[in-house]
């Protein structure tokens, strides 16, 4: 039975309107907790997402008086836009390169670090260092490294008698240069996640396998790899999703050039939307980006994520 309010505090508490905080089943309190985040999400992400689709169906320049509805015309233009094709191919290449190069090397480094050698702390700190530094800073530093006449990379190559490449200034090597730098920067990130996954595999499995006569390679193939599957799935999908959004390094290092040879989807989006202010067209690009990433994620989930539960 409830006691009559004795202390002043209790009397004040009774007088105030209760927002349902005391009752775990009252809706109000929970709504209050959830509301700020949900409202913000709606206003900043969900509504603008729908807005993007809407705008992509119009010819939309912010200062224009008239913003006519043109249906799917922007998308039709994209289909025949050579620059956009370049952007698609470049972004796809970039993403593929990261998945095929970054991920395995990161796994390899993680395996080496998992051996618990002396000095592991220094090793892991060094490999992870580029992850912590921002893309802009790394892009500036690598732009200098790639300098054909005075950069360290060509200097290093010249020690072996090579003439060095044009790196960022040549149509053939610009994208590759960006890819190499991006792999360098990102590898530590994947390595750390792999390492955490490796640490989660109990030693007893390895010991049992050794007793059964399994060699190093067999242990890796039949214990490590399968048990690492959820981690690998996670690493690949995160690498995929984030690699499709590549922008900063392109902006700082090449500006999409030379001659659009290193242009990417998001860079083209930015160019169209905020340099040329063709916002309808840019929105169409953005929607295509969404569809692509969404499709790839589903594809990966279907083909690979069978027994991965979130």
């Amino acid at each position: 039975m409830a006691q009559p309010p004795e202390t002043r505090q209790e009397r004040i508490r009774d007088a105030l309107p209760s927002l349902g905080f005391a009752d775990p089943n009252a809706n109000t309190a929970w709504y209050l907790l959830v509301a700020p985040k949900i409202l913000l999400m709606a206003a900043v992400l969900i509504l603008p997402f729908l807005g993007s689709v809407y705008i992509s169906l119009h010819e939309w320049t912010p200062l224009a008086l008239n913003k006519p509805f043109i249906g799917l015309e922007n998308y039709a233009r994209l289909l025949s836009d050579g620059v956009f094709h370049n952007a698609l191919i470049n972004t796809g290449t970039y993403s593929l390169a990261l998945i095929l190069l970054d991920v395995p090397i990161a796994l390899g480094l993680a395996l080496l670090l998992d051996m618990n050698l002396r000095g592991t702390r220094i090793y892991s700190a060094s490999i992870f260092l580029p992850v912590v530094v921002s893309w802009v800073v790394v892009s500036l530093i690598w732009s200098w490294l790639y300098n054909p006449d005075y950069g360290m990379i060509n200097a290093f190559l010249s020690l072996f008698g090579s003439e060095g490449l044009d790196w960022l200034n040549s149509r053939d090597t610009a994208l590759a240069s960006i890819i190499i730098m991006s792999i360098w920067k990102h590898i530590g990130f994947n390595m750390v996640i792999f390492l955490a996954g490796l640490k989660g595999i109990p030693n007893t499995y390895y010991e049992a396998a050794t007793v059964d006569g399994a060699g190093r390679w067999e242990r890796f193939r039949y214990i490590t790899l399968p048990l690492l599957k959820p981690t690998s799935f996670f690493v690949v999908i995160v690498t995929l999703i984030f690699s499709f959004r590549v922008f900063t390094q392109v902006f700082v290092m090449t500006g999409g050039g030379p001659v659009d040879s290193s242009i990417t989807i998001v860079y083209y989006f930015w160019q169209q939307g905020f340099q040329e202010f063709n916002m309808g067209y840019a929105s169409a690009i953005a929607v295509v980006l969404f569809v692509l990433v969404f499709a790839f994620s589903i594809l990966q989930q279907r083909s690979w994520g069978g027994d991965v539960d979130y």
């Binding site: 080496l112 998992d114 060094s126 800073v137 953005a286």
Partner: protein
């Protein structure tokens, strides 16, 4: 969880087979260790040397930078590049802007995400299912899709060039909510029921139980969000055109205009921009790595 454990002493090879992370290391097979060390040492060189080179270059006077490429260490180190960039560009204001933006993003993200994560994990209320679906669904939306309408929205509000406009996009990110929810679900209900019996209300449970127990997840979310916020580029580039309000990244990226081939100064600016994060990293390197590992590796286990 720690990512590094004490290394085995390599001198005790004489004894019976030692196990190193699942790999046997008998006295006969020491070469894998040497090979591993060799590879890792090369890795250290590869990952650290660009920073060292950039740093040395920034200490060279202009004449020396373009004289020869073989002189790595500056013959007469000078701070003139740093002084010049500092005097010509409002780097201090840009750093302050980045600090403000990052602090705001981290604080409000953690606040909103823990509140909402708590509600979604332990709350019983009508519409919880729908809300959860909404959060998970929003995870799929890449931020770039949102930028054009958001730009229009912010300008319509008159918030162009403000801190709020920059921050708001990142605070709305549902990733943290999802992560906190996953974490809070691991807290046993019995604990909460006991607290209720003791007379705690919903909000008190939040501050007295949820938050203290969530410290590792909070640290991880903080680190993750901070790195993300500090490196934010595209959105601030779009919404801010006043030089006084640039975050650090945008400010120095745009220096390539006025300083095109002035590498000494560009690199000095880059190094100065990297110093805050580098110091934090050197002081708390373990926290950084564990922050990423817990956010990602946690799912893998």
């Amino acid at each position: 969880m720690t990512l590094t454990t004490e290394p085995d002493t390599e001198g005790l090879e004489i004894e019976a087979d030692t196990t190193v992370g699942g790999y046997e290391a008998t006295q006969r097979k020491r070469w894998p260790r040497y090979l591993a060390h060799a590879i890792l040492i090369i890795a250290v060189f590869v990952f650290v040397s660009p920073f060292v080179w950039a740093f040395f270059t920034s200490l060279k006077p202009e004449s020396e930078i373009f004289a020869t490429i073989y002189q790595i260490i500056p013959s007469e180190p000078t701070a003139e590049n740093y002084v010049q960039v500092w005097n010509e560009q409002p780097l201090d204001r840009w750093v302050m802007n980045s600090l403000i933006i990052s602090t705001g993003i981290v604080f409000f993200t953690v606040l909103l995400d823990t509140l909402a994560g708590y509600a979604l994990a332990k709350g019983r209320f009508r519409g919880r299912g729908i809300t959860l679906t909404l959060v998970i669904g929003t995870l799929v939306i890449p931020p770039q899709v949102v930028l054009v309408p958001l730009f229009l929205e912010m300008n319509w509000l008159g918030w162009g060039n403000t801190y709020w406009a920059i921050m708001i996009l990142f605070i709305a990110n549902p990733f943290g909510t999802f992560m906190m929810r996953q974490f809070f679900m691991t807290i046993p209900d019995s604990l909460l029921d006991a607290a209720r019996i003791d007379g705690c209300n919903t909000f008190e449970i939040y501050t007295r139980i949820m938050l203290p127990m969530a410290k590792p997840a909070l640290a991880s979310l903080t680190v993750f969000t901070f790195i993300f916020a500090w490196g934010a580029f595209l959105w601030p580039l779009i919404i801010v055109n006043d030089g006084a309000m640039f975050p650090l990244q945008v400010g120095i990226a745009l220096l390539t205009g006025p300083y095109t081939s002035n590498w000494g100064q560009l690199l000095a600016a880059a190094i100065m921009a990297a110093v805050p994060v580098l110091t934090a990293y050197l002081l708390a390197q373990q926290t950084f790595m564990e922050g990423i590992a817990l956010s990602g590796g946690g799912k893998g286990q």
